[in-house]
Amino acid sequence: MTVSAETKRSGATESAKTVTITVNGRSVEARQGEMLLTALKRAGIRVPTLCHLENLFPSGACRMCVVEVDGFANLVPSCACPVTEGMSVKTHSPRALRARKTILELVLANHPDDCLYCVRNDNCELRALAAELGVRQRRYVGERRQQKEDLSSPALVRDPEKCILCGKCVRVCEEVQGVGAINFVGRGSATRIAVAFDEGINLSSCIYCGQCIMVCPTGALREQSHIKEVMDALKNPEKFVVVQHAPSVSVTIGEEFGLKPGADVEGLLVAALRELGFDRVFDTAFAADLTVMEEASELVHRIKTGGKLPMMTSCSPGWIKYVEEFYPDFIENLSTCKSPQQMLGAIIKNYFAEKQNIAPEKIFSVAVMPCTAKKFECGRMEMLHEGIPDVDAVLTTRELVRVLRMRGMDFKSLTPQVADTPFGDRSTAGKLFGATGGVMEAAVRTAHYLLTGTDLPDLKVEAVRGMTGVKQARLHIEGKDIGIAVVSGLGNASRLLDEIRAGRNDLHFIEVMTCPGGCIAGGGQPHSTNLNAVKERMQALYRIDREGTIRTAHGNPAIKRIYQEFLGEPLSEKSHHLLHTHYHKRDVLV
């Protein structure tokens, strides 16, 4: 196979021209035209922000980042101030500090004093800022907004009273995800973030990606917690409680226990889950291998029989909902494969239950996921099997961290353990699912094998790796020319779909991940997630793959066994019954 990559680099390269500015009396190098805040950050000078979002157009709404700039009478928001040669800046002058503190005190005027009970109390940016700026009393008392929590959705909860109207959620939802489920509504003191018609978010176009939770500086947005359900099941002797963990979790969760970003703690994670009392610990990456087998076969089948192309991946539930709402004309393009979470759920409650002689309704199946949309996915009607859900509860990485802390577990000092057979054995291809491009790479490896009977000489498919939002390449396998694209962030997906709607027809297979960068940057990941951590997590997945012994789904003995013993072959009747599904157009307030 040969690969020709046509990787598009998103984001214009900044002009290289360097300028020198003076910050707090010392000179600092900066790039002409970049925002002052960016230059300060590079120079290691921290100016607090509340509304700033990396890589998006500055909104200048919160004014928390104000600094003194010579020649300007007023304080200047550094996030929205382009650097110019010779500029002289004071970032922490008494005047700037006083202004920030006053701004914060005004923000706090109508804020509930709920820190003790708040889900964000250990990582709230507002609370941290109040500490940093030395706010020790309530100087302004504003009328408290009285708004009910929005508990209407299966994935996220909105608590408007804790909202400080920074607008980050609105911008991420619209500009990054292309959804626009929420917006500023009303005016003056009645301004709020709301869904159209002030409805519950369940009636909106929200795809439950949780990216708004990731950027929210406060406890105004959080996941719909499944901790209680899981704890109840764990202490119920009648229940057989199994857990699966997604590929991205083991390269993330260590950070919350003091390890460097990118540390892989698979063994510790398995040990911790056992310690919590789960009867079996499985690896979602096993089901990712299964997904690859089914999906690669489906692709080959579609190409050979003139089926609907380009085929699009279906592992990311936010993306599925997005297509159902915004692009229903592409539903047939979606692979019929369930996501790895749901495949494993179905396999556990059927194959495993039967083998172990456990009644499926006695099994409580938990999934640890980097994702809030997975909570929605597990409750979808399509994911019930004779009335029993394939997966009963989903804990985000964040929730698992909370549970482990609650149990006082000294995570780092546990002795690493290996997952249970048979669904603990995975290839490293399945593990790659955690990063954008991973599904594609895994599928290409297996599709190549299916088409040629041999493995790719070098299994690595460089063209689909990395953080870039849109990656495209052409594969030449046995005289076949196959166009592939890998997209993360639904704004990017939407642009690609528009091209296809307008007639573009050179693509055969498209991987879409809802969250920019893939699951390693999912909406259920720890709040400490930043671009650097995401890149490290990605490298960790590549390292695992590089060092792995089984690097293809079709080469995974556990996968071979399940086909021999149970499923028959990919796309068999049994596979269709358990591992595939269909999606439907959805009417919501778009």
Binding site: G180, A181, F184, R187, A194, S205, L589, V590
Partner: protein
Amino acid sequence: MTDVETTQEKTTVVDRILTEYPQGKRDALIPILQEVQAQQGYLSREAIVKIGKHLGLAASKIYGVATFYNQFRFQPLGKFHIQVCRGTACHVKNSTAVLDTLRRELKIEPGETTRDGLFSLEVVACVGACGLAPVICVNGEFYASMTPAKTRRLIEEIRERAEEHGN
């Protein structure tokens, strides 16, 4: 049956209005909203979704813009549309008490319509009848020098009238 018919009717009205703005420019949003409300009395969900598709704007955004202005409502007008004047003269003569009475009696906020569809409430800037302050206006008819007690009686009367008609 009637529901379906009304929906279809609404749809065509909005469609017709949208054809007057073929380029789908976003600065046309306010005029479009005004026209739709002028013709239908309010901004329905169907209308907002439709306008959004035409202009490439999310429904939440249109709702956000529309709620920024006082003039838009999102529920159909009631059989009896009550406008409460909040001009300075009325304010001085305690129109607040009148408005509060209406809120309590009807259990709705300005911009809303009662569930039975009988009443809708709106707050308007000066209606130019300052001599009658505080004044309210029901389906175009003025009621002068309102007090909470008079307001309650008026509502009572309207309800009774409606009941007779209903029977």
